[in-house]
Amino acid sequence: MTPQDTSMQLHDWLSWRDLSRAEVEDKFNIAADMVQTDTSYVRVGGLDMLRNRAADKGRFYFRQDQFVVYVLESVGKGPNTIPSDEILASLGEAVAVLPARVGKRSKVHIYPEQGIAISELDHTVRLLEIFPPMSLAAYKDNFYYEPEPYIR
């Protein structure tokens, strides 16, 4: 992924939070059987999860018609690898950097007022979260938990 690709992709991701549920279903061809109801994401319950793997590897969480968070995960190796250095540089200094839940040495760079958090490991994005702008405390209350120690 080139820096231009990265910048465009980041713009796309951020724009998706402005889509209504109907627009998401339409844009990503999400059929009824691609919706998982009454589920949760981290500390937020009562959500519906929408995902069509063929259209996009990420998943959208809505509370009824209200967008809550878009989540994209990557192994950090193979064809879907997303380099993290350029994205992080383009976002500037994070409000907080905390241990992430995607590996022992991973860190989540939190930009709550921009509505984005990136968990990276070995210079690759492992977990991307796009959400409505909020405070750091609100992010922690909704989407963060401190991982337990990795032993191997």
Binding site: V42, E73, Y150, I151
Partner: protein
């Protein structure tokens, strides 16, 4: 679910090697005879002799074949042991190495294969009666970069180190060479120290400087060799070109790792092994893994050894299996897709918003839903660890994995095993 015998049938077993070489007795006689003849007259060895030795070392039960022999008495002039005195040449010490180094004169040393390229510090000394099989003959006095070791048979006093078993030393050298030649893996302590230092740049410098190498024991090297043998289709010359460069090229053994990459990071006693870019490092804690112990409060030596070997197999899953392409994504993503326990590689389907970091709660919710749970509590961390733990049990206790986690067993059987058997990656 396949029978264990069907899976074994695809592998080269010790018994199969026995049969090819004419049975247990003839083979045992053969390799010992070759060694005796080589010690008497190195120039008498034939290519067949070399093959016999390689077969004995590589294919047969290394645990049995390479058992260390009793430590000879120090000072016995007939002893093959190496005696170190203050008058022997000094050792160029490796700053990372803590194990005792040896320098001096060895007798009857031999070498299989090409020129040695050992890891670790440099030892200078003479070799008497040394010979080389299949490689260049070493001069009577030579300088080599020697492997390091630290075993219960090595004793040290101020200015004097006695290596208890020259045989064990050679067995280690042979294994180190085999691992390098067969699997493209260098056993390199410095690589591990550097890997940890690089991966924990925010830990205090004093902590990063406190990393210490631990010399491999013979038993550990045997376990490294055996663990690597499971993944041999992905290593060295066997590695399919479509997978690109081999991602793991060095193995290291350190006393401790670092617990977190922050200014609060300390040398830790909880990490058993860790996979880095190009490197896998095993730590002392790896010798206390009790997943295979019938009584976890009193594990046997064999069970702990299984835990150490299983940890290597676990790390190799991180390093070699996760990124293999399958169905347009990685093996790990495919695994997470197929296991109902996971919504994605780092997100559990069975999440309690009130306790999102509770592994126990995840398992309770999954069991209540009739879903299969990971084989270990640690595997409940995320799909990375789940697959790695499943791989560990697939090799070390497949019966238990098949019984307790049939979906995971079937996933490995159907998706990973064919690749480990050398089938093309599509």
């Amino acid at each position: 679910m396949p029978s264990r015998s069907s899976r074994r049938a695809s592998k080269t077993t010790p018994n199969a090697a026995f049969q090819r070489s004419g049975g247990a007795n003839s083979r045992r006689t053969s390799y010992k005879y070759v060694i005796q003849r080589a010690q008497a007259n190195p120039d008498s060895l034939s290519a067949e002799d070399v093959l016999t030795l390689q077969r004995a070392i590589g294919n047969l039960s290394t645990q049995r074949l390479l058992q260390p022999k009793p430590m000879p008495r120090t000072g016995d002039p007939s002893s093959p042991s190496i005696q170190r005195t203050p008058t022997t040449p000094s050792i160029q010490r490796d700053p990372w190495e803590q194990g005792n180094r040896t320098t001096g004169t060895g007798r009857g040393g031999f070498q299989i294969g090409g020129n040695r390229r050992w890891q670790g510090g440099t030892a200078t000394g003479g070799t008497r009666g040394g010979f080389t099989i299949g490689g260049s003959r070493q001069p009577a006095t030579t300088t080599t970069t020697a492997p390091t070791w630290q075993t219960g048979t090595t004793t040290a006093t101020r200015g004097r180190v006695t290596l208890g078993s020259n045989t064990e030393e050679r067995q280690k050298e042979i294994l180190i060479r085999k691992i390098r030649d067969d699997y493209g893996i260098d056993l390199n302590q410095n690589a591990g120290v550097q890997a940890v230092r690089d991966a924990y740049p925010n830990a205090p410098e004093a902590v990063r400087n406190g990393l210490r190498a631990r010399a491999w024991t013979l038993q550990e090297l045997q376990d490294v060799d055996r663990a690597l043998s499971h993944y041999s289709a992905l290593l060295g010359a066997n590695r399919p070109g479509v997978l690109g460069a081999q991602p793991i090229t060095t193995f290291s053994r350190l006393e401790q790792g670092i617990d977190e990459d922050t200014p609060s990071g300390i040398l830790d006693n909880t990490t058993a092994g860790e996979t880095f870019t190009n490197n896998i490092t095993m730590f002392d804690e790896g010798r206390d893994i009790r997943d295979f112990a019938a009584d976890k409060s009193a594990p046997t030596a064999d069970e702990l050894r299984q835990g150490f070997r299983g940890t290597i197999e676990h790390e190799l899953s991180h390093g070699l299996i996760e990124s293999i392409p399958v169905n347009g994504q990685t093996m790990l993503e495919e695994f997470a897709d197929q296991m109902t326990f996971w919504d994605d590689v780092s997100t559990c389907h069975y999440n309690d918003p009130l306790r999102p970091n509770s592994k126990q709660r995840r398992r309770e919710l999954a069991i209540a839903d009739g879903a299969e749970v990971p084989i270990t509590m640690y595997g409940t961390t995320d799909a990375y660890e789940d697959l790695a733990e499943s791989m560990m049990f697939y090799f070390e206790d497949p019966t238990r994995l098949a019984a307790e986690c049939p979906e995971r067993f079937a996933f490995i059987r159907d998706n990973v095993q064919p690749i480990l058997d050398g089938n093309p990656i599509v």
